[in-house]
Structures are given as C-alpha cells and as structure tokens.
C-alpha cells in the first residue's frame, strides 16, 4: 500500500521521453491536467550536453553515462526455454536511456516511415504469395492501422524534428533521388537532405551502377535553422560525430527536451516529477479500469497518484514489465500459446559490411552524424520478389559515417589479429580509408520469442525482473544472409575499394548474444491489433482489458520492420493521441468492441 495518496489528476504519464512528453503536450493543450513521472533526473540539452565535455567517448559511448542503471532495473536473458535465463548484468546489445528525454536524447536521428505493406504484413504476404507462404512458426500479423491512416501523423513528427531528406513519393509522383519504394507523402521533408562524405557518395554511385535506387538517409540531424510547429528552434548540424549515445548540445539533433518539453513545461496543465520510479499500475475493485499509479518518490516513500487516464510511455521493455508486475492484461504462455502480454517480442536483424579503400580515398570518419548515410531500400520489406527466396521481410542497406570515435571505430581487414604490432599498424592504416555498410533488417515474431517475469532475480524495488527469451528465427537468418550478400556486391562495385569483409549477427548457428551492441530497437511484447486474443491493445493503442490505459512505443509493433523505430512509434503516438482527444476523453469507453 502506498504511504501517501495525492489529489487525482486527469492523466498520469509514465516516462518523460519522446512519447511521454508528446502525450503531455497534446493532452495538456486539450485541457487535461497531466502529471509526468520520470524515473531519472532533470537535465537540459543546453546545459547537460554541451561540447566539448559531451564529446567524451569513454564516458558516454563505453561507460554509458546517459543509460539506465542496471543495479536498479535490468532483465534476465536466455536463448530458449530450455535454458535458465540469467541477469543482464552489464549493458551491451541495447541501451535504454533514463532521465528527461529518455533514450530520445541519444538516438541517432534516423527518422523513417514504415512501408504500407509493413503495416499489413500478414495479409500483404498472403495476398501476394498465397495463404501457404507464411511458415507456421511465425506469428506475424497486421498492425490494425494502415499507412494512409498514419501518414498525417508520420508527417507531423517529421515536422516536429525538422527532418532532412528528399521525398521519393510526393503525392503519388515518384521522384528519382528519393526512396522510390516509400508510401505516398503528403509533403516533402521540411529541410533539405544532409551533405554526404566521400564513402557514402561512392556507395551511392556503385548502387546506381547496379541498378538500385540510392537516396540520402532521412535525418533528424537538422540541416538549416528551423522552427518546429511547437515553436522550438533547431540549428544546423556540425557533423561533429557525437550523436548516438550522446546528447546534442548544438540543438541540431531533434530531441524531446528541446522539441517538446521546453514548449510545454510552463503550461498550467503540465507537471513533471523527477526521480519518480513507477512501481505498479493500480486497478479498480472490479478490475475493469486503472485507478492510477504508485511510484517511489525522491524521499523513498511510496506515493499513489490517482488519475482518470493512465498512459504507459516507458521504454517498450519496461512498459511490458510494468504490465506484468501490475497484472494488467493476460500474460503470454508459450506452452499453450495463449495470453498476450509479452507475446511477439522482436528485435532487429543486423549485419555489417566493411569496404576498405586505397589511399586515394580519405574518409575522415570523425566527420559524421547519426543519420548521415546513403541508403538502398531495394531489399527492404517486400520491395523485392520473395517467391523463390524462402523467407519474408528484408532490410535497408546503408553506407553510413557516424562514429569515427577512435576507441570504438577500429576497422581492420579480415584476418587482422586483435592486438599486437600488426593490429596496431592495421588500425593506423585503415582508420581513414573505410566505408561502413550496415544491413538493418526486419525481425519477425514467433511463438518462442517472448517476455515474461523471471522466477529468481529481482530489481532494486523487489519486483521480479523481466525475462527475455529470444533467438534469431531461421527466417531472419536467411533474410540477413541474402541482403548482406547484396551489400557485399555493392561494396565490391565501389571505386577504390581494395577489400571487403562482412559479418551477419544472425548467421546460421550463431545464437543471439546480449553482449555486443546491435541496436536499441526492442520491439513488441504489448502489441496492437484488432483481435484481443493476439494483441494487448486495440488499433488505437488502448488496452482491451482496461479502457483507460493507453500504451505507447515500439512495444506496440506486432513484429519489427526493417527500419529504425522512432518514426513509426511516434506516428502511432500521434494517432493514439488524436483518438484520445477527439473521441475518448469526452466519453471514456472501449473504442473497439472486444
């Protein structure tokens, strides 16, 4: 029982990142009194992320200065149900954030839209390839919302970020130089695309020679002075090379603090409490609705914050954890394949290709930005014929220049030893002559990849840890190999390239490991849909079981497309908020029949 009970508020919001602050902005302006509970500390882009102090690779990239403290909260991990899951004692494969702005301050700013077919994955593949095409072990499903429904919201978020790019499909007109596979856009990007370094330019030339359709990666690293629709001022990117894992003190990478928080913090309907660790969501006696949340306040006392509406805006994994420890929704059981909370956890299937240039190409890899890339989308989603390939899904191939920081960026050709004189020479000789290609692939959902509660370990608050059971599905291993081999062909076609090497994180026989960094794109676990037996929330992000609980973030994705999640999850957030404002709040009820 909570020690202290506060006066009721209209909306309580768990988490002060992109979705939480945006929910507060939109709902406060709709007349709702909003309380945001952020487990981390207050900070500001201007004072907390300024250079040169922020440009500290050791502190932020290796020691994870902006990331969550595993001593307080972590999860356990295993590859399959036959193993004992063990705690993730150290951060590695993914890096959830903490503090004002959440992981939104240390994203790379790659701002994507899903393909129309991504959002209707099951029905799309069945329509195109027949109902027998999708293997039985896959639990992929439609999102319950279409691209056309999301388009205005995806567009609005691009405006919030001052996104830089070049439209490939503007009002139905296909434009060379943009992504010709993308869904129809109602408007071009608000800012012009980024300048490209030599490595990315050579990649684009080679891709074009092979008949592909290269385009500049859409970027929330802003390219000119810009004011967003909330009135925030953004500045042009300096290509400083400290994006991912760092905050941007230049105000050049869109983040939730400058783009949203500064524009809402003084509003009468807005309040934020820091170091407020939410412990559980409380339910009404009949179990039909939530009554608010209990959190641990700064002084270590449990506080109950009653609210009419509860918004779950924590990082996707912790939204699922909060549901499980609060007994919200029916937990998924892989033995019976029933239940929904924790079902369809998915990740991202990543491979890398290294292209080494001769000395005529000087890449200056430290001149970079998180979303500085040239991309080929010809092998993403269902942009290519899957009929004879034996897998579904795909990924984009990008040549990127974003992290030439010298502790982590030590590209060496295949066969180079890991240490010693030969290693040292190879690091020196290749640092400035390397093209960095990534294959950023989709991740299908299966019956056996899921989240539940661990029976052994607890967090600092005495709650059972979240337990992750995950390995790469065979489908994604094949997909990763296929798309990676296309990337190798492009790399071999690049001018001045002397050698090419590649690694597929999901190669056959290689188990998913929690140790090396891959992506902070954990998806699923509280998925959306139109059927309450296979989704936690309806197509509006509203819980089927508790109509006054709305869920945000990548935990909603029924499977993970081959794109970075921030664009799609923010499109969904605006979609949900639109329905809350125009339909739900004036008449709270289930927005869909179960």
């Amino acid at each position: 029982m909570a020690t202290r009970t506060l006066p009721k508020t209209d909306v309580v919001i768990v988490g002060g990142g992109w979705t939480g602050l945006t929910a507060a902005y939109e709902l406060a302006h709709a007349g709702q009194r909003c309380v945001v509970l952020e487990r981390g500390q207050n900070r500001h882009t201007a004072t907390s992320f300024a250079g040169p102090e922020e440009h500290d690779e050791l502190k932020y990239a290796l020691r994870h200065g902006h990331m969550q403290d595993l001593k307080k909260e972590t999860l356990t991990f295993r590859n399959n149900r036959d193993q004992q899951a063990l705690p993730m004692r150290r951060l590695g494969s993914f890096l959830p954030g903490t503090g004002l702005g959440g992981a939104g301050i240390h994203w790379n700013g790659q701002i994507w839209r899903p393909l129309p077919s991504d959002l209707e994955m099951r029905s799309h593949y069945e329509d195109r390839y027949g109902s027998q095409f999708i293997p039985d072990d896959l639990t992929i499903q439609d999102w319950g919302v279409t691209y056309d429904e999301l388009e205005p919201h995806l567009d609005f978020f691009e405006r919030i970020c001052g996104a830089a790019g070049y439209a490939g499909n503007l009002n139905g007109e296909t434009r060379a130089g943009g992504n010709v596979f993308e869904g129809q856009r109602s408007a071009d990007y608000p800012n012009p695309a980024m300048k490209q370094p030599i490595s990315n330019t050579l990649f684009g030339k080679a891709a074009e020679k092979l008949g592909y359709n290269p385009f500049p990666m859409p970027s929330a690293n802003v390219t000119q002075a810009y004011e967003n629709p909330y009135g925030a001022q953004l500045h042009p990117c300096t290509y400083c090379g400290f994006c991912e894992r760092f905050g941007c003190g230049y105000f050049a990478k869109a983040d939730p603090i400058i783009c949203v928080y500064d524009r809402i913090k003084d509003h009468d309907n807005f309040e934020i409490r820091f170091e407020a660790q939410v412990l559980r969501v409380e339910k009404s006696e009949d179990g039909q609705t939530a009554t608010g949340v209990t959190y641990l306040g700064e002084d270590g006392v449990e506080v109950f914050q009653p609210a009419d509406t509860v918004c779950l805006n924590a990082y996707g994994l912790w939204n699922v954890h909060l549901m499980l420890v609060s007994d919200l929704g029916k937990p998924y059981d892989p033995a019976t394949r029933t239940g929904v909370v924790g079902r369809n956890y998915a990740y991202q299937t990543v491979a890398a290709v290294d292209a080494f240039f001769d000395s005529d190409v000087i890449t200056n890899p430290f001149m970079g930005a998180g979303a500085l890339g040239v991309v080929v989308d010809d092998f993403n989603g269902d942009n290519f014929d899957h009929a004879e390939l034996g897998f579904l899904g795909g990924g984009y191939i990008a040549c990127k220049q974003y992290n030439g920081r010298p502790i982590s960026y030590q590209p060496t050709p295949e066969g180079t030893p890991a240490w010693g004189g030969d290693w040292k020479r190879a690091v020196r000789e290749n640092y400035n002559h390397h093209g960095d290609l990534v294959i950023h692939g989709s991740s299908v959902s299966t019956h056996e990849n899921y989240l539940d509660l661990d029976p052994t370990w607890t967090d600092a608050y005495g709650r059972p840890l979240l337990r992750m059971t995950f390995n790469f599905p065979d489908n994604d291993r094949k997909m990763g190999d296929y798309v990676m081999n296309r990337a190798v062909e492009i790399a071999q076609e690049m001018d001045n390239v002397t050698s090419v090497s590649s690694v597929n994180m999901a190669a056959k026989g290689k188990d998913y490991s929690i140790v090396p960094y891959q992506t902070t794109h954990n998806a699923g676990g509280a998925v959306m849909g139109t059927d309450p037996t296979t989704s936690v929330v309806n197509r509006f992000g509203q819980m089927w079981d508790h109509h006054n609980v709305f869920v945000f973030g990548a935990c909603l994705f029924p499977q993970n497309p081959g794109y970075n999640p921030t664009g799609p999850l923010m499109g969904l957030a605006y979609w949900t908020l639109d329905h809350m404002k125009t339909d739900y709040l004036s008449n709270p009820r289930p927005l869909m029949d179960a």
Binding site: G51, P52, E53, H55, D56, E57, L58, L62, R63, H64, M67, D69, L70, K71, T74, F77, R78, Q83, Q84, L86, P87, M88, R89, R90, K195, Q196, P197, I198, T201, C237, T238, Y239, C240, G241, F242, D360, V361, I362, N364, F366, M367, L372, G404, R405, P406, I407, A418, W419, G420, K424, V427, R428, Y431, N432, W457, T458, D511, S513, I514, V515
Partner: protein, 241 residues
C-alpha cells in the same frame, strides 16, 4: 633495470611538482632513456602512489599492455599512459562495479548471457593478476617469452585462479585499447599518442564545411581540457620488484 616509461617528444608538464622525481623528469626525455639507471634509495618514496594498483600489478599491466600495443613509430601502451589510465579506471566507477547488477545467485551461463561473475572488474583484475603471477611473472620474462605467454593466454580455456581466462583477457585488452584512445583527461592517450596515430582531431568538432571533402585533416588533436590542465606525464614504472 629499465624504465618502461620514456617521455614523448620531451614534453613534460610537471614543473609545478617538487619531488625528486619531478627533478629527474624535468631533465627531459633523454635523461630517462631506457638505459639510464634511475633506481635509487628513494625510488619507493618518490613514486606517486597509485590510486588502486600496487607496484607489482602496475609492472605486470605495463608488460601485457605493451604486448597488446607495442612501441613502433608510435608510443607503446605504457608509454602513452595506459597503466595510469587502468589504475584510475579500477579505482573509480567502472572498476568498482558502477551500473553492474551484482545480485546473486551466480550460476554459470553461456557466453551469450554475458558477465556472470560475483565480482567487480577491479576484483577480477586484482585476483587475476595475483593468480597469473603465481604461475609465471610476466614482468620478469624476456621480451620474446612475454609474447609467447600472452598468445597462450589469449587462447586459454582453463581459469586463472578464479578468473575465467577469456573474460579476464577481454577486460585487459579492452582497458588497454581504451587507455590508448580515450580523452587524455583519463590519463592515457598521453600527448594524444593514440589520436595522432590515427588522425583523430578530438572533442572540438565543427565539420559542416568539410564533410564532403576527400582530403587529409591537418587539424591537430584537441581534447576536452586542451590547454587547461597541462596533463601530467605517465608515471615511471620500474621493472624491478
């Protein structure tokens, strides 16, 4: 007897200190060449205390770090201050287990499950060095035998004392590389040894006009505290016990 340390470019910025060692150091790089006998009655008292390491541990770390990153046209690991870096890392957050979930039990896991030891990195390294030195003291081996020993260590499956060999080896290699390339505020990368070697210009970074160029960068390295602190030189490490 030799000193692992020698000054780089003769630049020593310790003039504000008044110890016997500072006097020696102020004589410049030549005075500290590998052949010069500087060991004397006051050596132990002169040595600035390590934050965490013992002298024996420092010697052992210098020996292995200089196998990982040997001297060539560019300084070796210990010449670039990597042992000073490791000392500070083990004494502070990383070494002391900051952000490391250490709640038991501690069953053995798979490599994919990552760190499962009931100890902090500082404890792992202290215990590991002690156990390794009981087998063979790397620091006392001739150079060629050191390389052979480290090669065997890199492939070793049996634990060293309680320390799983591969975890222990991985931490040592990571720390050495970090110390060579991290900002000099962390005491390694002395005189920007690592940054000069690859051509990384550092923390002061504005490349809007240059990002598309295919041309070398002439900008000399500048760290976070460039010109403000006068980073101190690496501690001399006596190779005698």
């Amino acid at each position: 007897m030799t000193l692992v340390y020698h000054s780089i470019n003769g630049e020593i910025s310790m003039h504000h200190r008044f110890s016997r060692r500072a006097v020696l150091l102020s004589m410049g790089g030549a005075a500290l060449s590998a052949s010069m006998p500087v060991r004397h009655a006051f050596a132990q008292m002169d040595a600035e205390p390590w934050a965490f390491l013992t002298d024996d541990e420092a010697r052992w770390l210098a020996a292995i770090a200089d196998i990982f990153i040997p001297e060539d046209d560019h300084p070796s690991a210990s010449q670039a201050g990597v042992v000073d870096y490791i000392d500070m890392q083990l004494a502070t957050g990383y070494g002391q287990g900051q952000g490391l979930y250490l709640q038991g039990p501690f069953p053995e896991g798979t490599p994919e499950q990552g760190w499962q030891l009931p100890v902090t990195p500082a404890e792992l390294i202290r215990n590991g060095i002690a156990a390794a030195r009981e087998e063979t003291d790397l620091a006392t081996l001739p150079d060629t035998d050191r390389l052979t020993w480290v090669e065997a260590f890199s492939k070793r499956e049996d634990p060293i004392g309680d320390a799983p060999a591969q975890t222990f080896f991985g931490e040592l290699l990571s720390l050495t590389k970090e110390g060579y390339f991290a900002d000099p505020i962390y005491l390694g990368n002395h005189d920007y040894a690592g940054w000069r070697m690859v051509g990384f210009p550092g923390a002061h970074a504005y490349f809007t006009e240059r990002v598309g160029d295919n041309a070398p960068t002439k900008q000399p390295p500048m760290g976070i505290a460039h010109g403000q602190l006068g980073h101190r030189a690496p501690r001399p490490i006596s190779q005698e016990g």
